[in-house]
């Protein structure tokens, strides 16, 4: 390794909640087997909007009682917070962080083998806790009209029940007293700091699709600088509004997969016939980042090492990447320079790989220009679809697991590849020493990170 022992940052724990597995073991096995979870969008969404895209990847929420979460937690926390807790619990457990409850039923833990003042959380999220925002704003809007609406509905013989019709408008019957707290994007990181007694920074990073990797980058910098010796870094995203409003928003933007293809062929990053990304209902992933020496003294074996990260902004458009005027090359070269490894050393690239026409074209062209056809390349979004704020964290976890296991998962549906890259269209085993993972977010955010096998 090129960095000095004192400043090395390693990953010692991973936790995941995804559509293809709610534990590292299940997730990784399903990745290698090329498993997906793709379904037709719910029929009742058609009553609100005629979408161009017809498929999504729904997320089954885990059993939160296994994480000691009570009725009060389920009522006062957004689902994005709940899945973040589930993922962070697993990451800390894998990292052998010892925890004990501060008091019975408190839901707050103390850790005997970490220094709270030198531990923090860094959370990436795109739309924050938008389920709670939407669930509470609808009843607020309806309230002034509700008496008139009730009276009118009583006269409508074709409507079986006003309650039934009103149920289509609102999940909540009134604005919750915790609506503001549940809706805050920072409630994810704040809840993690409260739950695990992390008294360093609790930072929230919102850079759309690059949020998760951006958050891990900030966690890395905090540990590398010595400000912290342990940090949770990751991302969480969940869209639970009953009417599919977030799906509709991305569909209206024209970003979602449109091709009239069968369910298992619609999601095809880096293929000629790609037509947009597969909308995912969400996911969460957290990594435990730790100073190498801190981990060694605790007797915990690292999963992988982070060597460097770099961010740039295109400063061009909120919506799209410009083919000739972007800052992606600078981001990749900056990450490699920060890692202090030669370009030729990169064995594997976990690409952003959304499946949108311009993104994949620009990304594949730049990757070929910098790396040529040598490194293996895959898209984790070809399995999961796009989990927005969680995607970069999930892909960083995949990159670390690929390095550790010397295996990369298949990138699905690349029948006619673009860009001349060395795509892993099937599971591939190789000696992997260094890897790059990268993400681009709406708004022109570019983040790259170089990881190494330990």
């Amino acid at each position: 390794m090129n960095s000095s022992a004192a400043s090395r940052v390693v990953i010692t724990g991973i936790g995941l909640v995804t559509a293809i597995g709610n534990s590292v073991d299940a997730f990784w096995k399903n990745c290698l087997n090329g498993e997906t979870r793709i379904e037709a969008t719910p029929d009742h969404w058609d009553a609100y909007y005629s979408a161009t895209s017809k498929y999504w990847s729904p997320l089954d929420l885990p059993d939160f009682s296994r994480h000691g979460l009570r009725g009060s937690d389920l009522l006062t926390m957004d689902p994005a917070v709940l899945i973040a807790i589930a993922a962070a619990d697993e990451a800390l457990e894998n990292a052998k962080i010892e925890r004990s409850l501060q008091a019975p039923r408190s839901g707050k833990y103390l850790s005997s083998n970490i220094d709270s003042a030198k531990s923090g959380s860094f959370v990436g999220t795109g739309l924050g806790c938008i389920t709670s925002t939407l669930d509470n704003y609808t009843p607020h809007l309806l309230k002034s009209s509700r008496p008139d609406l009730d009276r009118w509905l009583e006269d409508q013989s074709q409507v079986s029940s006003s309650k039934e019709l009103l149920a289509n408008f609102a999940v909540n019957r009134s604005v919750s007293p915790v609506a503001s707290l549940k809706s805050m994007p920072n409630s994810i990181g704040a809840t993690l700091s409260i739950r695990y007694n992390l008294r360093g920074p609790a930072d929230t990073c919102s850079m759309a699709c690059a949020s998760g990797l951006g958050a891990i980058g900030r966690a890395y910098e905090a540990v590398k600088s010595g400000r912290l010796n342990l940090a949770l870094g990751g991302g969480a995203e969940f869209y639970g509004d009953r009417a599919g409003g977030v799906f509709m928003a991305f569909d209206r933007l024209g970003a979602l997969a449109k091709a009239d293809l069968s369910r298992n062929h619609v999601n095809r990053p880096f293929d000629e016939a790609r037509s947009g990304f597969l909308f995912s209902q969400g996911g969460a992933c957290f990594l435990v980042l730790e100073d190498f020496e801190h981990a060694r003294l605790r007797g915990v074996a690292p999963i992988a090492e982070i060597l460097g990260t770099y961010e740039t902004s295109d400063a061009i458009s909120l919506a799209s990447i410009h083919a000739d005027d972007n800052s992606i090359r600078e981001m990749i070269c900056g990450a490699i320079a920060a890692a202090d490894v030669p370009v030729e050393a990169i064995d594997y690239v976990n690409a952003h790989g959304t499946g949108t026409a311009t993104n994949d074209k620009v990304e594949s062209d730049i990757l070929f220009e910098i790396f040529g056809p040598r490194p293996l390349v895959n898209s984790t979004k070809s399995l999961l679809g796009h989990t927005i704020g969680a995607s970069g964290a999930i892909e960083a976890a995949v990159t670390a697991l690929s390095l550790k296991n010397g295996t990369v998962h298949p990138s699905l549906n690349i029948d006619n590849p673009i860009g001349g890259l060395n795509y892993a269209t099937e599971r591939r085993t190789a000696s992997l020493e260094y890897a790059l993972t990268q993400n681009f977010g709406f708004g022109g955010h570019n983040v790259g990170m170089v990881l190494a096998r330990v």
Partner: protein
């Protein structure tokens, strides 16, 4: 929803709703609950679980409650039941 109960309910009915909310939100055994117990001091309710109690009671009774009016920091279960019972048309 209103801050006045839509129909007059007996205190016993409101008591049942409040007890059920405490069992649900704080994961308590109903057999251990008595009206003289203090919600914070005896039942370990924190600020977030108090808000969760309000959500469950509001939903069950179709009423809006101002959490500050409950004075939960010192209230007994009986005080909570009495406050809600008072939110009825005379």
């Amino acid at each position: 929803m209103n801050n006045v109960l839509p129909i007059n309910l007996g205190r016993q009915r409101i008591r049942k709703v409040v007890f059920a909310a405490l069992v649900d939100v704080l994961a308590l055994d109903e057999a251990t609950l008595e009206e003289s117990l203090k919600v914070v001091e005896d039942l370990d309710a924190d600020s977030m679980s108090i808000l969760a109690l309000v959500i469950v009671i509001e939903d069950a009774l179709s009423i809006e409650i101002d959490p500050a009016e409950l004075h939960m920091s010192d209230a007994t279960i009986g005080h909570v039941i009495d406050y809600i019972s008072g939110q009825q048309e005379p």
